[in-house]
């Protein structure tokens, strides 16, 4: 059952990611990205990260992507104009990316043999424990992020304001 669910949602994530790269119109890319995030939320659940799965749907697929879609609508973005792009990216980027992926896969397969497997329910990260960690061990970073959010909100308002 785990394997079936993993294969289904990994397939959805990969397909949506391919669609993100393939589509010319940003709104299609945005909807594909929401698909990736939803599929990843299911994978988080399979790995026992309940809290992260919920936050993924609420914050990422909800709030952040609404912001993206809102901007796309606000600016009335049309389809992307295909240009030749960077030669450096094409002739150096693709081989290096392929090499990077190959190395990563080789390393991961070597480090984590197939017998090291996950099954649903053997490890669960309850929200209570994460909350406790956030307010004890990670209290300072947690408070700092609130300052970061405040600065980001003010920065966004200042930047996007129409100058008189």
């Amino acid at each position: 059952m785990d394997k079936v669910l993993f294969l289904i949602f990994a397939g959805i994530a990969l397909g949506a990611a391919v669609n993100l790269l393939r589509s010319r119109h940003p709104i299609h890319s945005a909807l594909s990205l929401i698909g990736v995030m939803g599929a990843l939320a299911v994978l988080y659940l399979l790995l026992g990260a309940e809290f992260i799965a919920a936050v993924q749907v609420i914050v990422y697929a909800g709030a952040i992507m609404v912001l993206f879609v809102f901007t796309i609508m606000l600016l009335n973005v049309g389809a992307e104009v295909p240009t030749s792009g960077s030669m450096l990216a094409r002739y150096l980027g693709i081989p290096l990316l392929a090499l990077f992926l190959l190395q990563l896969v080789r390393l991961l397969l070597g480090q984590y043999p197939p017998d090291q497997a996950s099954s649903f329910g053997t490890f669960v990260g309850p929200t209570e424990k994460i909350g406790r960690l956030l307010f004890t061990q990670y209290l300072l970073p947690f408070e700092v992020t609130s300052v970061l959010i405040l600065v980001a909100v003010m920065g966004a308002v200042v930047l996007a304001r129409r100058k008189p």
Binding site: Y60, L97, L104
Partner: protein
């Protein structure tokens, strides 16, 4: 039936590489921004998988922080994109070349 943990990590690696490819080859600045979000999501999947392997909740706390930073980044980045569009009337990165060499 169990799922090998390496599958999750390889899926994460593939998604990350696709994000980098989108960053390199897309021309629309909003799509480039979305590719960055894709990379962040890929890394989050790695964090959760490692959290499972090591039976440590710290990985999930880190995912939480990554999400917070991503939210802040999206807010500021999209504000910058709006300003750029207002000044240049274009979202194509080929038109935004003042700081390119």
């Amino acid at each position: 039936m169990t799922v090998p943990i390496s599958w999750y990590l390889i899926l994460s690696a593939v998604l990350f590489v696709m994000g980098v490819a989108g960053f390199l080859f897309k021309r629309n600045i909003i799509t480039i921004f979305m590719s960055i979000e894709l990379m962040l999501n890929a890394v989050n999947l790695s964090f959760v998988a490692f959290s499972y392997v090591l039976r440590q909740l710290s990985g999930q706390v880190f995912v939480f922080f990554v999400m917070v930073v991503a939210a802040a980044e999206a807010a500021v980045g999209l504000a910058i994109i709006i300003v750029v569009f207002r000044n240049r009337d274009s979202l194509n990165v080929d038109d935004i070349e003042l700081m390119k060499w």
